[in-house]
């Protein structure tokens, strides 16, 4: 019996209850939720060390005779995911407290925020630790429910619109998950992952393939694998910055984790390499093409998120130790980097009043620290050496070359192309939002024609090309919706104004609150730590992958000596 294992789930739940009771005392709420998450970080680190030294840590809840009860298992994979997610959630909470303290989020009732956030953390931890399918379902529901509330905080029209799609899609995938669970139970008479690992082998191929496909589709919706990813870029960007950050970092990765766990533990004999690799290729390419087409930084990042899920699915699809090791490394790297980027975008929104490329310019001069904070993770995302994004991609591509099948080689090429296109997408954002002057931004917005209008041919101020309703100007394309937005800039009296107008009228905060910058900087720093410890970290993920491929450490730890 290991009493550390359930704590990452129980502590946040107790914390949620406590913060709910303290809802009239915001200061006490902050102290409780921060100390709970700090404790979870410490426990996760302890679990990581124990799982690495002593093998998987198992706890049976409720003192039923194994294998009847509910098991929580922290093996190397779970412990790593747990540690990374704990650190990320701690930083995001600190950031959102910083945001709330400066008193801008009047539309987000803080008294609800803390309990919901803690329930989300409990759900994520439980998903990483769950040792049986139904417990996994319950943890998905926990984190989804918290995410429904966080996404629709304040109930504004845009959030309700985005929230409707998000909630319905996820309820549908939950129903699918229940159907899969019923099918698995009907076929095997158990839901414990370790027992299933043994029993599924005895099933006829057609039955086990059906179960596998059901589970894969369910988890692919959560992980946002194309074509099941279309809900994501539409729903994430509307939420408050810290919420988007934690969703982007963690929720999709829970889906990836579930795919990885199920593929390695339950269906080792049927890796479905071709299917997964095609899905990975399409996810990478379509995602990044979508990112290039966006003119809002939040939407652009949401598309890169979808795109980079493809790398992880690629590693899982290879089904070799090297591939899985690369995928695990990439998941850990990507959780931190994607969260950091969304936090920085929140800072941009705070400093410049918008995240639309139409309205931004000159941020480098306006806020040099912000520029550094954006530049470092953006380059890391694109995979510029020597940062961890580069190391992770090299690991995956190397694994692909080792396999050497035509499809794997195609994916390696696709991966390199995606990496380059990511660089293009973030470099475009960098050039437009940070490098040109606010005046240039303003002039471009003024010169853009309205959706059905002719451009001003007589006095061209800004070179532009019109193509099928898009207008290309100043290094990017603006779609019809942007053209409508640009009209608002023309009207000097309109409440919705661009950076140039805001600066001219002196309506921007002079500087960013330190309580928001510091957490974002800390997370950027944490993502650079992956670069420094890339060697030991890859050793660790290699050991993780070896465990996952062998399966015996997990099975022995859960079922004791009675491995069949």
């Amino acid at each position: 019996m290991n009493y550390l294992v359930p704590l990452p789930v129980i502590l946040p739940l107790f914390g949620a209850g406590a913060t709910l009771m303290l809802s009239r005392r915001p200061r006490a709420q902050r102290v409780v939720s921060l100390s709970v998450l700090l404790a979870v970080v410490v426990i996760a680190a302890a679990l990581l060390v124990r799982a690495d030294r002593l093998g998987p840590q198992v706890a049976w809840i409720g003192a039923w005779t194994p294998p009847l009860g509910i098991s929580l298992v922290a093996d190397r994979l779970s412990a790593l995911m747990l540690l990374v997610s704990a650190v990320v959630t701690l930083v995001v909470l600190a950031y959102s407290i910083g945001q709330g303290m400066t008193g801008d989020e009047s539309e987000a009732p803080v008294s609800i925020y803390h309990p919901t956030f803690l329930v989300l953390v409990a759900g994520v931890s439980n998903a990483f630790l769950a040792g049986d399918l139904f417990n996994l379902f319950v943890s998905f529901e926990m984190l989804l429910f918290a995410s429904y509330v966080l996404l629709t905080l304040g109930g504004t029209a845009t959030r309700i619109r985005a929230g409707t799609i998000y909630v319905v899609v996820n309820m549908l995938s939950s129903a699918l998950f229940l159907i899969s669970i019923a099918a698995v139970y009907a076929a095997t008479g158990s839901l414990n992952l370790a027992q299933l690992a043994q029993r599924i082998q005895d099933l006829p191929d057609s039955v086990s393939l059906t179960l596998q496909m059901l589970l894969l589709v369910t988890f692919s919706v959560k992980a946002a694998v194309f074509p099941l990813s279309l809900w994501l870029p539409d729903s994430y960007p509307t939420a408050p910055a810290p919420v988007t950050a934690v969703f982007a970092g963690l929720l999709t990765k829970v889906g990836v984790y579930a795919v990885l766990r199920v593929q390695t533990l339950l269906f080792p004999d049927s890796p479905l390499s071709n299917l997964l690799m095609w899905a990975a290729l399409v996810t990478m390419v379509i995602g990044i093409l979508g990112a290039i087409a966006q003119s809002d930084i939040k939407r652009m990042l949401s598309f890169t998120l979808v795109s980079h899920i493809g790398y992880m699915i690629f590693g899982i699809g290879l089904a070799t130790e090297a591939g899985i090791s690369g995928a695990v490394f990439y998941v850990a790297h990507h959780i931190t980097i994607q969260t950091a980027l969304f936090l920085v975008v929140g800072l941009i929104e705070r400093r410049a009043g918008s995240t639309s490329l139409l309205r931004l310019g000159g941020l480098t001069r306006l806020a040099p620290v912000l520029a550094i904070l954006f530049f470092v993770p953006a380059m890391n995302l694109a995979g510029i050496p020597p940062m961890s994004g580069f190391v992770g991609k090299v690991g995956l591509l190397q694994a692909g070359l080792d396999v050497g099948s035509p499809l794997a080689i195609t994916l390696v090429i696709g991966g390199v192309a995606t990496s380059l296109l990511t660089l293009y997408a973030v470099a475009k954002t960098w050039a437009i939002a940070f490098w040109r002057t606010p005046e240039q931004a303003h002039e471009t917005a003024l010169a853009l024609p309205g959706p059905g209008e002719e451009a001003d041919l007589e006095h061209p101020t800004v070179p532009m090309v019109r193509h099928r309703g898009h207008v290309h100007a100043g290094g990017t394309a603006y779609a019809a919706a942007d053209l409508e937005n640009a009209r608002l800039v023309r009207d000097d009296e309109a409440p919705d104004r661009d950076l140039y107008q805001l600066l001219r009228d002196g309506e921007l905060p002079d500087r960013l609150p330190r309580s928001m910058v510091l957490p974002a900087a800390a997370l950027v720093g944490f993502s650079l730590v992956f670069t420094l410890v890339a060697g030991p970290m890859f050793d660790y993920t290699d050991r993780t992958a070896a465990d996952l491929v062998q399966r015996t450490p997990y099975l022995q730890a859960v079922l004791g000596g009675s491995v069949r």
Binding site: T164, V168, L178, E454, H470, A481
Partner: protein
């Protein structure tokens, strides 16, 4: 394992109706669809539990005659979760009605902009244009 055909038929009918309703635009109908589908899924669990038997309470019957308690526990959990989700979705439908006067599921922002684009397409072909000197080449390429 013997299965009860009527349960299978009921489950598939419920899930079919649920899917049909989910495809509707109004959020309340979508919700009704999700509920009906959820009931169908719960019946699937009954099928997964095997043949029906005595209540699984120790001491009341022989263990061999009891029905399997685990699927029933799972269904119970699923029902509780469905209750909470229903409450949340109803609140969202109400909020949507407050804001927009209806509870229709609205279009994706991007979809809406693409549709406007398609509507404006005929017009846009007629006035492809380039301002500034250097873009003429681009025009011929892209205007094609």
């Amino acid at each position: 394992m013997s299965t009860n055909v009527s349960l299978i038929v009921t489950a598939s009918a419920l899930i079919g109706c649920g899917v049909y309703l989910i495809l509707e635009r109004s959020l309340t109908r979508v919700l009704a669809g999700l509920l009906i589908m959820g009931n169908g899924v719960n019946i699937l669990f009954l099928i997964a539990g095997g043949r029906a038997g005595k209540a699984p309470i120790e001491g009341t019957a022989d263990a061999a005659d009891m029905s399997d308690p685990l699927p029933q526990a799972l269904v119970l959990t699923a029902i509780v979760i469905a209750l909470a989700t229903t409450a949340f979705l109803l609140a969202m439908a109400h909020r949507s009605w407050q804001l927009n006067g209806n509870d229709d599921v609205q279009d994706d922002v991007e979809d809406a902009s693409i549709r406007r684009l398609a509507a404006a397409d005929e017009a846009s072909d007629s006035h492809d244009l380039a301002t500034g000197g250097d873009d003429d080449e681009v025009l011929t390429e892209e205007g094609a």
